[in-house]
Amino acid sequence: MRVSTSMIYAQLTDKLSANAGSLAKAQGALSSGVKYSRPSEAAGIVGRVQALEARLSTLEADVNAVSKVRTGVDAQSKSLQSVSTLMDRLKELAFEGANDPQPQSQLDSIAEEVNGVKRALVDLANTRDADNRYVFGGSRSGAPPYELKNDGTVDYVGATTPLRVQINDVDFADATTFGPATFRGVTRGEESIEFFDALDQFQAALKSGDLAGRQQALNDVEKLGNNIGVAVSRTGAAMQRLEIAEQQATEITTRAKESLSSLKDLDYATALTELTKQETLMQASQSMMSRLSKLSLLNYMQ
């Protein structure tokens, strides 16, 4: 078969440049630790790489969100512990107050203490967490939810929806809760009385000496305390949920990282072998080139 001279050289040059390209790619991969240096070199997989990177970022955001929610729930839990203690004291006071007969002065001093406890409770209900959120203000987390008025009554001015935060693709958790859901009032038949109003009524009954009112208060305070107990256990459950969510996110992160790594990251053993192979091939091509170029009839023509 006739082979033209330029064909011989063209084929050699083609091979040489292909070898040089593969060698450069292998060297680039080894120096960066990534299988490819430009997306077009791995055109088929970059879409998946981007998706996995985004997924990892989402998972990181999930973990961050969980920790932000935890800050809020933590603050609620701590505050509620103190509330529980105060509720115990209120129960004692209600018990004392329900005794009959006793002098009005005694009742007045109980009323004074009830008032003090109420103020302390208002302070606790206006607790802020490390992120400066009023944890009992619901979605209105930037302002104190309970206002103590001049006449001693307490108004809830927060939102009636919680500050809800997305903690993963499907789940939400509440970083704050709204006051009335925690500081739940009492119902007497059809009538429902708010938490602090019940305390006000207790105080008023003490001041007026109204026995029925004082006995009612004993009942009320018991219920209010139970409501706080429910809220405490709710924060505990919330904490558990958060821990599970965080654990899940961490597990999925590990798996996603593995997938990403298998797509993108370099297997050094294979890469080094590849480099050696490409070097050898390059050497072979070059020596072939030099030998072929020496072969010419000219050498024998004198």
């Binding site: 078969m1 001279t5 077009s40 970059v46 998706a51 400066n132 930037g142």
Partner: protein
Amino acid sequence: MVDLVGIGVSGLSAYQQALATTSNNIANLQTEGYVRQRVSLQSAGQDNLSRISLGNGVRLAEIERLYDRFAEENLQRASSDLKGQETLLSQLQSLQDAIGSSDAGLHGALQAFFDSARALEAAPAAAGARAGFLAAADGVSARMRGLGGTVQSLEANSRTQIEQDVSALNSYLQEIATLNKELLKRSNSAEQPMQLLDRRDATLKKISELIGITVATTSGGAASIYAGDSAAGVALVEGSETHSVSAQFDAVDYGRVQFVLDAASRPTVLPTVRNGSLGGLVTFRSQSLGVAADTLDNIALSFGRGVNRLHREGLDAQGMPGGDLFYVGPKFTVDGKANAGAGRLGVEVVDAEIVQAHSYKMSFDANAQLWTVRDQSTGQIASGANDLLLGGLKFNVQGMPKNGDTFVISPEARPSLTFQTLVRDTEKVATASKATVSSAPTNVSTAVGDIGFGAPRAAEIVRSISEILPRTSGPPYIDTYFSKSSRPIASIPAGTSNVVLTSGASDGELAVFTRDGRQISGPDLTSLKSSIVTKANGFYDGAVYSAAYLNAVGEDAYLDHGFVSGAYAIAGSQKGANGDDLLTPATLIGDAVDLATLPNTFSLRINGKTVAINLTGVTSDKLQAIKTQVNASSATTGAVVEVLENGKAVTSGGDRLVFKTAGKAAVGTLSAGASPSVTINGTVFEASSTPDLVTAINAAKIGVTASASGSTLTLANSYGQAGQPFKVRSDAYGLDEQTYYSSAPLSVEFDPAVSSSSALTALGLRRGFAMADALGEDLLVFGVKQSAGSSPELSAVSVAGSYDAATRPADLFGPGKTPSYSLVFGDSNAYTLVDDNTGTEVSAGTFDDKDRTIRYGDWQVTFDGIPVKGDTYSITKTDAPLGDNRIAAAIARLQHSRELTGTDQTLQEQYESLVNRTGALTVQAEIGKNAQKVVFDHSLEARDRVSGVNLDEELSDLLRYQQAYQANAQVIQVATRLFDALMQKL
């Protein structure tokens, strides 16, 4: 004796030429397109003079061009295919490098944005989270512009390449034509100069590298070139005639590239070009670049608009409504240079939500005084006198246009290129929702409501009044549109103002409803409620009929809004021939009064004021009696009635009534010592005393009646001229020059408490519906007919009317507004929604346990539980936005929204699809290129096997010919010696 010298010389000259041919082969070793040549020698014949014949030496038979046409054509085709794939691959790689990079691609930037939105969601009041959110927004904007720019530069690049290729192609085609001219001189290719043929083949190869062609050669070697795979394609070169090729691009659709032959003379469009570098570039543009640009634009638009929509619903740290977070183009440029008229067109974006980067064309028809604007991409059309609305744009023309004037409106830049973050101040980031749902503390259930804003509720589309009454402004337009009797005639879209609709027939009436089933106007349709208030008729799902606000006015009206259920007119103003304003009072001219059906006692509401009419005991001239009774209340109603007969106002008899807005009276007191004089409509009246002046004015019968009380003069419209403007000036009576006239509108309704709408018909007035101010929600209009003594029935009714085109209704939760709604739950999940400001029950229905959502206007409240009887929720504006995360959360949630892009994919998925698609095409192009390379190498080898130069072969030929040459020289030497020897012997 055989001529030894002659033989030697023939050998010398033959081998000299053979050596020259071989040397030429060696010299052209690297010449592209060179075809190897070979000498063929032939015996020079024999000397047959003697019995023994001896040869006469050698001669050069021919120099052969070693050419295989089949191999050459194969090579051309293979190089065309290879070049196409190579070009495609390199372009695709550039695109993939831009969009597929984790650092430069959009995927990561979108992710960072949504992550920052989630950080903001968790800590909405934290300044750091706000700053981080803005930084991420800036990042995504920059990335969007960067990618848009990259795509645009790839477009510019490929466009330049196409243009360069086309110009190279044209010069090659020209070259072939020139070569053909030479080649056509000989009919046999063997006689052609080989150089010409080599040049032809080299040029053909270059052309096939640019574009796929088919070549047909004549026996003389002249080549005709056809685009495409067969000689049936469009001819690029025929003989010595060439057709120049030009490329045409589309400004918006990058994928549309056309190659046109002879664009200047007889344009012919080439069929799709597939091969060669041009084919590669075109394939790249249509398969990838166009899609990439469109996808980026779509992502920019849907992302920008989606975020903006939520951000606008929110409140910033200071409690102000959040504006647009991103600027989402496009901007428009207007070209009207060629217009004869002096009209200037302004294009304004009125609904950024729906604006597309489309081109529009707007032209003027002077005969109909109509502008028509056409969306060049969708073909949608809008027409009207001015202020046309189409695709979220408002087209307003100022100045006087001429017939045929045309404006071309083009989008200035692609949305991805102009994408920008508009908010710079962290305080201006809106994280809070503008509205809040509060549960009453006494609620028994713990269900919590969350408010969301969105597009208005889904309902059946009912044709808008703009479709049946297309001309929005100008005189009332009468249309003989007939509805199907069971369907609404039309809807009045929210935001439509100055609506005046009348039944086109005297026996027809219009019934008007809200989409929530509240009937506002018309006869009481309680008996028909189940057939009217249906989803198919355009009512909201679950709408309940209510007649509580039917025909009511003032505080009893629906949302305390001013509706007119009867006849309505507005004052007119026109320019007269001399440029003066010609004013006409609001006028309602009735048909002939039907005395037979006119009740003896009835009550009218004129301009909202009740006027009771009692005709008991009146036996004759009932119309005059009505006139007297109505005019007695003129001072409170602001309207007057005149009785007409044959178009003239009469004081007795008459057959019809005309209601007009009462004019204003001019009242002045004579200054002490002044001479009584007054100028009315330019006529000067003078007298010695006020009573004399009164007499003079009244005697003149100029349509103005004068009266006096002491020295006080009162000028008012004469009977028959009610409401007509008149101009008065009098220094004596202290009256500055002024036109006395009232431009107030006029409404005449029946009083539903006392009489029915048939009272209006009997009076000869049409029963219609009107409202001046726009309502924030749609209304549905039905046609009704009612014969005496029977119940009303839905009926086909023609309508006449006018209105001002709808504008986007004001935001109920916007600045300056104090919305407050109460949502109250009753027995078995029934609920009512009351507008607290007006006490209007705007909606009622049954709460759906599964959907748990109550919708009204453009908002909806979703509950996380089931409210029980007595539970009350109030919906108000958010008062303390700091620390509220609802909008931030909604923005973060967009990451997973599949509705946003209109493709059932999330934003990131859509982008990922683009990357994957480009990736797949790149991989495919790479495989294609490798395959084509093999084919090309094979074709080249096949061609070179025949036509290529092998140095060793040539060198051996050189040696061979050299030796032959030397041997022939030797022959001559021998002959010489022989000759010398002979000479010496002699």
